[in-house]
């Protein structure tokens, strides 16, 4: 990922290469075996998974305003008829399955030295290329890597990551706010999945990414057929057409002049302009596939106290506030600047990752209709003028 595509949001200009050197990537050589499965048989396969695992699939919900963005639902007795493998990414990003919105991480005073983690075996069908890419940030922050020492491995994330099978899906359409190709990504995953599904008219190509992924197919040979040249060319055609659609709808956000990531350190005025409609609600943080930050909250609980970890937002005024009232980012514009520079600049420096994956969820979620593609373009363009 990353690399030779022209990054209209400035990902590629300096020849930057992302590094996916995480424990997930080191999980063994990808066999990349491929099989074809018909639509009926896919329902059977998912049904078999549901006997041994919690299985989540994207479904369309019948809701009042008739929104059609699918979201995850748990497969109970049968695979829901409303399962929707086509289209763009589900409403929630894949992080939700490894990083819960709220989770108790310690009970005290008498807490075990060992972490008590509930991590039932789970199969998540539906993450897109952007979501899979987002999980790399979690792996780097929470899993032992060269960045941090092993003593800081986070059991709550790691055990869930270990017990969760990622079954990614190629996008077969782009929503207006999709811009994965502008930040070095693609509308399909090439690594970081256990299995990948490429939806075709009459079924899917199933690609095996890891040994664990292969284990999900074991014993189900009766359901598969060989992948034909027609299947492959249908997949390639779909991938090319979605890539082209994403490219086309983002041409208007292209930044003409070459620039360096440091150009995001622009004038206060440029960031103030971008922040005009921001109310600091943090919706963008919550839907973001790479927002890893959290708030620890202590409260009374049975037998003493409990400490929970909760999704946090760097846009809140209290986020960086210290005892006595000091605050390194008192202005909302400073906080939004920090959020966007974290994605494009700080994560590059620290994790060798661009942590905007172009999923577009922050644009969809923003009540102020702030579009980060416009924001970045504005800031860089103002810098060039200065």
């Amino acid at each position: 990922m990353g690399g030779d595509r022209p990054g209209i949001l400035g990902v590629a200009p300096s020849g930057f290469q992302e590094k996916y050197d995480t424990p997930f990537q080191a999980r063994g050589p990808a066999r990349m075996k491929e099989v074809f499965i018909g639509s009926e048989n896919l329902l059977k396969l998912i049904g078999r998974w549901a006997k041994d695992h919690r299985v989540y699939v994207p479904v369309t919900f019948d809701i009042m305003n008739n929104e059609e963005t699918p979201d995850y639902d748990l497969v109970k007795d049968a695979v829901p008829e409303t399962m929707q493998l086509h289209g763009a990414a589900p409403a929630h990003s894949a992080k939700t399955f490894v990083f819960y919105p709220r989770e108790v991480v310690a009970n005290y005073p008498s807490s075990d030295a060992e972490a008590n983690v509930e991590a039932p075996s789970t199969v998540v069908v539906g993450p897109r290329g952007c979501d899979v890419r987002g999980l790399a940030k979690f792996d780097k922050v929470y899993w032992s890597t060269k960045h941090f020492t092993e003593e800081h491995d986070d059991p709550f994330i790691i055990e869930k990551r270990e017990s969760t099978y990622i079954v990614s899906i190629d996008c077969t359409a782009a929503k207006e706010t999709c811009f994965c190709t502008a930040v070095g990504g693609k509308p399909f995953a090439e690594e970081g999945f256990d299995l990948n599904l490429s939806p075709l008219g009459a079924g899917c190509i199933v690609t095996v990414g890891t040994e664990r992924g292969a284990s999900l197919l074991a014993g189900s040979d009766d359901l598969f057929r060989e992948v034909t040249q027609e299947h492959k060319s249908e997949r390639d055609k779909n991938r090319a057409s979605v890539t082209e659609a994403v490219d086309r709808q983002n041409a208007q956000f292209a930044i003409d002049q070459p620039y360096d990531k440091r150009d995001l350190a622009s004038s206060e005025d440029a960031w103030a302009y971008v922040t005009q409609n921001c109310v600091g609600c943090g919706a963008c943080n919550r839907v973001c596939p790479t927002c890893t930050c959290f708030l620890l909250v202590d409260q009374r609980a049975k037998g003493g106290y409990e400490r929970s970890r909760n999704w946090d937002t760097c846009l809140s005024i209290g986020y960086a506030r210290t005892g006595g009232g000091g605050n390194s980012r008192p202005a909302l514009a400073q906080r939004l600047e920090n959020r966007l520079r974290c994605k494009f600049e700080y994560s590059r420096d620290r994790y060798d990752l661009v942590t905007c994956t172009g999923c577009g969820r922050c644009i969809d979620a923003c009540m102020g209709r702030i579009d980060m593609r416009e924001a970045i373009k504005h800031v860089v363009t103002e810098k060039a003028k200065a």
């Binding site: 972490a115 708030l295 946090d312």
Partner: protein
């Protein structure tokens, strides 16, 4: 796997008032906690939450830990209501401390402002344990008023230690104060340097001397400028960075400053490390 978020039960063994709003607590953790001078811990007041503090006690003592705390926020206010025998929680230590091996054979300037002397005390005590290794220890401390001075009884004792001097100032003139008046940077005005004409005693060699600074952000800013002006090298000026370190593990994000996590890369950072920031303090 080890639970990183678990506080270790610690009993309050002693409470000593330093000033009207600053108190030194001595804790006895159920499991010994060893730390290096400059590292910090997360202190839990049960049911209220955690806050980061650098211990004030000698790092070579692991069965008890002292922390000098100013009551300014939710956790610290709640702590003032606790009594000897009550239980709190401690996690840590976290972050980088001072690399004392680098200090050997050099003059060491310690600049404290207000309660900022508290974290420096663990450094001072660690230096005193090996006092012969260092050329000189100069402790320069500023407080707002005579009433705000912490470690009132310890400062004269420190001045008696070999190769050690203690200089003090208060911000405003006060009837009970006979010494230097002015913000803490006035204590740098006459800093003897090897280049100073007619210098006596043990002057500082700014090429190699080490400075350890802790205090309010505004003080760090001005002391940093003054020290660079005296010729101190950015890589030898150590600041204690104040950020909202919450998890201490480089994960929660609250203490981020650009690509740095202060809880991992700090809290002690050199002026060279933070030079890229317009206003790091």
């Amino acid at each position: 796997m080890k639970n990183l978020y678990r506080p270790i039960e610690s009993v309050i063994e002693d409470i000593k008032s330093e000033t009207p709003n600053i108190t030194t607590y001595r804790f006895r953790p159920k499991e010994p906690i060893s730390f290096e001078a400059g590292q910090f811990v997360e202190l839990t007041v049960p049911g209220v939450g955690e806050a980061p503090f650098t211990p004030s006690s000698n790092p070579n003592i692991t069965d008890t830990m002292e922390i000098t705390i100013m009551a300014v926020g939710t956790v610290t206010e709640a702590l003032t209501k606790m009594k000897v025998g009550d239980t709190v929680g401690i996690r840590g230590p976290y972050g980088n401390g001072y690399n004392l091996a680098d200090f050997e054979g050099k003059e060491i300037l310690i600049m404290g402002g207000g309660v900022g002397l508290a974290p420096l005390r663990s450094l001072i005590l660690a230096l005193f344990d090996d006092v012969d290794k260092y050329k000189k220890i100069s402790i320069r401390y500023g407080a707002r008023t005579p009433e705000d001075i912490i470690y009132k009884n310890l400062l004269p004792e420190w001045a008696k230690v070999k190769n050690t001097e203690v200089l003090q100032t208060i911000d405003q003139p006060h009837p009970d104060w006979k010494g230097t008046v002015g913000v803490v940077t006035v204590l740098l005005d006459d800093l003897p340097l090897v280049t100073t004409v007619g210098v006596e005693g043990l002057p500082f060699n700014p090429e190699t001397a080490v400075a350890c600074v802790c205090g309010p952000p505004i003080m760090l800013k001005f002391v940093n400028v003054a020290l660079l002006d005296k010729g101190f090298k950015p890589e030898n000026i150590y600041h204690s960075m104040e950020r909202n370190m919450s998890c201490g593990l480089g994960k929660c994000g609250h203490c981020m400053m650009g690509e740095f996590y202060i809880c991992k890369d700090g809290p002690v950072m050199t002026a060279a490390q933070i030079a890229e920031f317009d206003d790091p303090f």
